[in-house]
């Protein structure tokens, strides 16, 4: 496990893009961990929310683009409201997803959704809005 | 003076405890700002009579800036609040007379904020440069009174 920083993360374009889309200063995170400990989905994630911020602060966007975490976040805002420095983590997760989705990437395939009849419309609408471009 | 570069005159009233100290710090830190700023030290922002601000504009300044301690931090307990009220009145009066009230600026700059001091001076000078010269000083009817 080794990561070589080749460039000041503050100058990284993709980090800047994430800051721009989310409107959050990702550098204000001080790694208290409260987002992760309160996250109802954390146990299913491969990168914990607090680690997401450390990766960003180190400029390692690639790891995040390949991680499951942004796609597991349920945008429940538990972390957002509890973050001591007021970071909207849900928006940052969305920004990371957006980097992918804006390349016309489908995370879910609507045709492969099971039990479409019984799912409430809001479930499908919200899922597709979050996971398709 | 069609194409001549406009160099504004900005008189700065800086309170002794915060903004003067910030100006000292900006100097010590070798932070540069335009020579348009013409500073004077006063004991407290509250000591600045609205007359001083108007007088400066009358006598040729394109703008004035009043620097005080941050709210709640005043060395004289509440002087900066008084200054804030006075500046508000000056601005209202200027505006109602048809003058540009943005030529009076009140800023809170604490003694530790040297960089902020320099930044405010730079930004405000740029701003005034864009606004152009003040028309207030050309008002003959408001010519300066004699002082003894």
């Amino acid at each position: 496990m080794k990561y070589t920083i080749t460039k000041d993360p503050h100058e990284d374009e993709r980090v800047q893009k994430i800051i721009e889309i989310s409107g959050q200063n990702i550098f204000s995170c001080y790694q208290c961990g409260r987002c992760s400990s309160g996250c109802p989905m954390a146990e299913f994630m491969d990168v914990l929310p607090n680690q997401v911020f450390m990766f960003l602060q180190e400029g390692d966007v690639d790891t995040l683009l390949n991680a499951k975490t942004p796609w597991i976040c349920a945008a429940c805002f538990t972390c957002t409201v509890r973050c001591p420095v007021g970071l909207d983590l849900a928006a940052v997760m969305e920004a990371i997803r957006e980097l992918q989705l804006r390349k016309n990437y489908d995370y879910v395939d609507p045709y492969k959704v099971e039990d479409r009849e019984e799912l409430p419309p809001i479930a499908m609408v919200s899922n597709f809005r979050k996971f398709t471009p | 003076m069609t194409e001549k570069k406009f160099d504004p005159v900005i008189v700065g009233f800086f309170c002794n405890w915060c903004t003067s100290a910030a100006a000292d710090l900006a100097g010590t830190s070798r932070l540069h700002y335009p020579a348009s700023i013409r500073p004077i030290r006063v004991m407290c922002s509250s000591t600045v009579d609205p007359v001083y601000l108007v007088r400066a504009l009358q006598e040729g300044a394109d703008a004035t800036i009043l620097g005080g301690c941050h709210p709640g931090d005043c060395h004289y307990i509440t002087g900066n609040y008084k200054a804030r009220r006075r500046v508000a009145i000056v601005k209202t009066v200027l505006k109602s007379l048809g003058f540009d009230e943005t030529r009076v600026l009140l800023e809170w700059i604490s003694g530790s904020e040297g960089p902020k001091f320099a930044r405010v001076m730079n930004e405000y000078t740029d701003y005034i440069k864009k606004r152009g010269p003040s028309d207030f000083k050309y008002l003959d009817s408001l010519g300066g009174e004699k002082v003894d």
């Binding site: 721009e20 889309i21 989310s22 409107g23 109802p40 989905m41 146990e43 299913f44 597991i72 349920a74 945008a75 429940c76 805002f77 538990t78 957002t80 409201v81 909207d88 849900a90 928006a91 969305e94 920004a95 957006e98 879910v108 959704v113 099971e114 019984e118 799912l119 409430p120 419309p121 809001i122 479930a123 499908m124 609408v125 919200s126 899922n127 809005r129 979050k130 996971f131 | -």
Partner: protein, 296 residues
């Protein structure tokens, strides 16, 4: 005829959550209010967009608000009620968003050149807020015919009634509005510590195992606290907690089922409205009929 108030049902109430719609409208009728469906409402979008550079999630909601603005003038009331947590959250956030961000509103107004501009005076309310602030819990108490004495209810708020802060209808960490309501309905309220935790939300579409795990945890803890039912206001929470018990049971053999109800169904029952035309127990995966038998 009761007093008319605008009602935004949302798509889900028109289908799988008929039980929520009818129990809401009928319970309001008992309290002297006619919930009139907002004419021509469109989908709220279910989730609010978080990207700063996008307005696409706001358009539909502002359009709904404009419709409410027009219809509100007709009936002389500016309150727009929603009972689905997602609808409430979206409409309210859109309202706050464009009020805070006038440039965004201007862009939207320009975009929707057919409609009138949004003036910003629509009061988006969740039905619970309406009960507490406008109807008054005293009035609710007055209408209770069959107190739900002995029924142990775990109130479940989920996320969208409480978060983010600007739309919260109550204290986000320790809300009490449902508790207050259920006590007035005569039920025994369980101190349910997970009442504001997420159910897994839209992951129910493509990651139902995860939602099954959430349901397992949320229902087991409620069971452990002695609850007979979990009561919620969100059709998605309802679906997840109800239907996904199937998966929870497959994964955890010791799991015990528990019926999930809408808070409005409990209101209806306490008000003596026990017809299936109002309650629609056929919409439940785990039927609450047995637990509620005493009051039906």
């Amino acid at each position: 005829m009761g007093k008319k108030v605008m009602f935004y049902p949302g798509c889900t109430l028109k289908g799988v959550a008929k039980n929520l719609e009818d129990s809401t409208v009928e319970s309001a009728r008992v309290l002297g209010y006619d919930l009139v469906e907002l004419p021509g409402w469109t989908c709220c979008g279910a989730v609010y967009g978080l990207a700063q550079d996008s307005v696409k999630f706001t358009i539909a909601n502002v359009r709904n608000l404009i419709k409410a603005q027009n219809f509100g003038k007709e009936i002389g009331d500016n309150r727009l009620l929603a009972v689905c947590s997602m609808c409430y959250n979206n409409l309210k956030r859109a309202h706050i968003d464009v009020m805070k961000n006038r440039d965004k509103l201007k862009t939207l107004d320009l975009f929707m050149d057919e409609e009138a501009n949004y003036e910003g005076n629509i009061n988006v309310m969740h039905y619970l807020q309406f009960l507490k602030n406008d109807v008054g819990m005293d009035k609710v108490a007055e209408m209770v015919k069959k107190p739900l004495k002995g029924l142990k209810v775990a109130p479940y708020y989920g996320c969208l009634l409480l978060r983010p802060d600007e739309v919260a209808i109550d204290d986000r960490e320790d809300p009490h509005i449902l508790e207050e309501l259920f006590e007035i309905l005569g039920a025994e309220v369980v101190d349910y510590p997970l009442k504001n935790e997420c159910c897994g939300s839209y992951h129910t579409v493509d990651k139902k195992e995860i939602v099954g795990e959430r349901t397992y945890k949320l229902v087991s803890v409620a069971k452990g606290m002695g609850a007979d039912v979990i009561a919620t206001s969100c059709p998605l929470c309802f679906f997840n907690l109800d239907k996904r018990q199937e998966i929870a049971k497959q994964k955890h053999s010791e799991f015990e089922h528990m019926p999930i109800v809408y808070f409005t169904q409990l209101m209806a029952i306490a008000f003596g409205l026990t017809s299936q035309d109002v309650l629609h127990f056929d919409k439940h995966y785990i039927s609450p009929e047995e637990v509620l038998q005493k009051w039906l």
